[in-house]
């Protein structure tokens, strides 16, 4: 009875939305919600604000406002009556910039390095842009055309009229990029193979994989590089021993692949047994099972770790300096000793520039991986 009477009062349309309470709306509401919602939050926010106020203005002053942007020698970066505390000496970076990028690469052949950078950027872009046209061609380009092209461009191909440039003359960003790219590109497939071998049921294959992985992981990268560059020439005559940079490249690639193998193995272990059994039930042979069922899932799971290894490897490339190869960081180290530019701020500026370069590269990698992850996760959620 009462129920039918009440039914007359039922609304047929939703009520008008009321504006949110004033203290919850707009910027004020956002601040309250995110920064000052509890005592602990208020304390943290205040501490952060104090830290920013304390840290940022001096950094801005040093790196931007008071910095010397142009000049021909150290005079530009010295203290003066107008500027008793000089800022960063970007003029130094400007003058030395081409050395930071090319090392000792001969002046008139540097277009070859530029071309290599462009070719590499095209390759990375093609593969990294997930909806790029003809990504299969992109893979062929990246893994077959690009290495051959880079080798001819950088090292020289007398038949094509490109004079030989010994790798001792390479340096700077060029070496860092070459070592990192070769390490990254070689370590993933090698690592996958090693991981599969380690989980293999064939005892010899398994033994070899375990020995290699455990041996390489048990030795610091510096030792691997040192062995490759210092010990090898003592056993092998100079003519037969491979190029110094090549030795370092092989060392870095093997080293990275051992780590990569363990990362991939983690992914493989995370795939439920049922997936293997289902693939086998479908009659897929081993390699097709791996390629079509297991690895796509395993790699997706391990993507964050793979990128983590890449980033670690990218920064580890600085260790090649130990064998006398002038990577990017080493060129900065060398340049800061230049007496024409020696000032109290030169070293700081050089290292800040190096930090900026490494940060941009590593942060770029990590952002890209994040995108891919989100994209893959979307497929997973469905």
């Amino acid at each position: 009875m009462a129920a039918t009477a009440e039914r007359n009062y039922l609304r047929t349309a939703p009520a008008e939305r009321l504006p949110s309470p004033a203290e919850r709306a707009g910027m004020f509401g956002w601040l309250r919600e995110n920064l000052f919602s509890s005592r602990g939050d208020i304390a943290l926010t205040l501490i952060c604000i104090l830290f920013i106020v304390w840290a940022v203005p001096p950094l801005l002053r040093f790196f931007l406002l008071d910095a010397a942007w142009s000049g021909n020698d150290r005079e530009a970066c010295l203290a003066s009556p107008q500027l008793p505390e000089p800022g960063a000496c970007w003029a130094f970076v400007r003058v030395w910039f081409s050395y930071f990028v090319y090392g000792f690469y001969p002046l008139f052949e540097r277009w070859r390095v530029d071309l290599f950078f462009v070719a590499l950027a095209v390759g990375i872009g093609w593969l990294a842009w997930l909806s790029a046209p003809r990504r299969d061609l992109g893979a062929v380009y990246f893994f077959i055309v690009l290495p051959a092209l880079s080798c001819a461009l950088l090292s020289g191909a007398p038949r094509l009229g490109l004079i030989d440039i010994p790798t001792a003359l390479w340096g700077g960003v060029l070496v860092t990029i070459v070592v990192a790219t070769v390490g990254i590109v070689a370590s993933l497939p090698l690592g996958i193979l090693l991981a599969l071998a380690r989980r293999s049921e064939l005892p010899v294959v398994k033994f070899i994989a375990v020995t290699f992985i455990e041996f390489v992981r048990g030795v610091p990268l510096i030792t691997v590089l040192f062995m490759a560059s210092v010990m090898l020439p003592l056993f092998v005559p100079e003519r037969l021993s491979p190029d110094k940079l090549l030795r370092a490249l092989i060392g870095v690639a093997l080293f990275a692949s051992a780590y990569m193998a363990e990362v991939v193995r983690g992914g493989l272990a995370a795939i439920p047994r049922g997936q293997y059994e289902a693939a086998q039930a479908l009659g897929l042979p081993y390699w097709r099972m791996m390629a079509l069922v297991i690895l796509p899932q395993a790699l997706r799971v391990t993507l964050p770790n793979i990128v983590n290894t890449f980033i670690g490897l990218f920064k580890d490339t600085t260790l090649v300096f130990i064998v006398g190869i002038f990577d990017f960081l080493r060129t900065i180290e060398a340049a800061r000793a230049d007496p024409r530019w020696a000032t109290p701020v030169t070293s700081v500026t050089g290292y800040a520039f190096a930090a900026l370069f490494y940060f941009i590269c590593c942060y770029g990698m990590s952002r890209y991986a994040r995108n891919v992850e989100t994209r893959l996760a979307r497929a997973h959620r469905r």
């Binding site: 081409s98 001792a168 003592l234 005559p237 100079e238 110094k244 060398a334 007496p339 020696a342």
Partner: protein
């Protein structure tokens, strides 16, 4: 059985000894005929020179990637003597840890990388030092305001120094020897030590004098600081070669002496062509107008002329790279000619 083994061992040893003896004879003969290293360098068309790569004034690249420095000039001088072209040098940047291996393994033909000549290195590493081309040694820097003119007045002074180096040991020895009390303040890296000195945490800063001048430029006000005249340790820097190729060692050694002789005789890069007409017998022998001195090294008789023409004499190289013509402004000091109170003494070419 056992006896047979012993016999075998003896036979093996004899065979080895015999082989070594033959190798030595052949080697010695080859050395008289021509230096194997020189031949390799000539065939290759370029001299492989181990250099520092990041020591201001001695060996480092300029922004265009060209190598410059005092040690670098020395390799250019050898290349000038061999090829008449100072650019035919491939510089291999070496760090302290791998410099000797690089020389031993044949990666470089000559090591010209601010290397101190010590008995241990000379006798145990299979390398030979050619000639001291830079007398370095540990020195002190103080602020002018301290009004100190000698290291002996540093009693009770605090001294900034890099820890774990011979520099630190030399410092302690020197103060103990002179009955002065020392307050050393040690730092892990040389950069930290300089920073600390610059912020007045110590009265004095010490390192090898060649590095002292480079460090001075990193101070906020270099001109308010002076380098004291005392040198408290011996760091004779010398180029080095592999043992066993005496003629090659001679080439490297005499490249240095030719440059010193040229300075003694007043022959330099600018007047060397006029000097060819000189009547002075020493100059005529140096420049190859008289005698066949370069030929006995396996080079041409105008070898020294080429060095001076392309690179300059010792003093020119010194002043250009580390002396008054450079930002470092290192005083000649021990590296002045013997006639001017230094130690550089050119051996006679005759």
């Amino acid at each position: 059985m056992l006896k047979g083994q012993i016999m075998m061992n003896i036979m093996k040893r004899l065979a080895t000894a015999f082989a070594v003896a033959i190798a030595l004879c052949l080697g010695a003969q080859a050395a008289f005929a021509q230096s194997a290293t020189l031949k390799a360098v000539q065939d290759r068309g370029v001299l492989n020179c181990g250099a520092n790569g990041q020591l201001a004034g001695f060996g480092m690249p300029d922004p265009q990637g060209n190598w410059t420095g005092f040690d670098v000039d020395f390799c250019r001088a050898i290349a000038a003597a061999i090829f008449n072209d100072p650019t035919k040098v491939k510089f291999v940047p070496l760090i302290a840890a791998n410099r000797f291996t690089a020389l031993q393994s044949g990666e470089v033909d000559v090591l010209s990388r601010n290397t101190t000549w010590t008995m241990e290195r000379d006798t145990t590493l299979g390398i030979d030092f050619a000639a001291v081309n830079f007398y370095d040694g540990q020195g002190f820097m103080v602020r002018k305001a301290l009004k100190v003119n000698s290291a002996l007045e540093l009693n009770d002074a605090s001294v900034c120094v890099q820890q774990g180096t011979t520099t630190e040991l030399n410092l302690a020895d020197y103060f103990r020897q002179n009955h002065m009390s020392l307050k050393s303040v040690t730092f892990a890296t040389i950069d930290e030590a300089i920073k600390a000195y610059d912020s007045s945490r110590c009265d004095s800063f010490t390192t090898d004098s060649s590095g002292l001048y480079a460090s001075r430029l990193q101070l906020a006000d270099p001109n308010a600081n002076i380098v004291l005249p005392e040198i408290i340790s011996k760091e004779p820097l010398s180029p080095a070669v592999r043992q066993g190729d005496d003629t090659w060692e001679d080439i490297v050694r005499w490249t240095h002496y030719a440059m010193v002789d040229a300075e003694e005789l007043g022959v330099n890069q600018h007047n060397v062509d006029d000097m060819l007409k000189s009547d002075a017998p020493d100059i005529r022998r140096l420049l190859g107008v008289e005698g066949q001195f370069g030929v006995s090294l396996g080079l041409t008789k105008d070898w020294a002329y080429r060095i001076i023409k392309e690179v300059g004499n010792y003093g020119e190289s010194f002043e250009r790279n580390v002396g008054q013509g450079s930002p470092l402004k290192i005083a000649r000091g021990l590296n002045a000619l013997w006639t001017k109170g230094g130690l550089q003494y050119g051996l006679p070419i005759r």
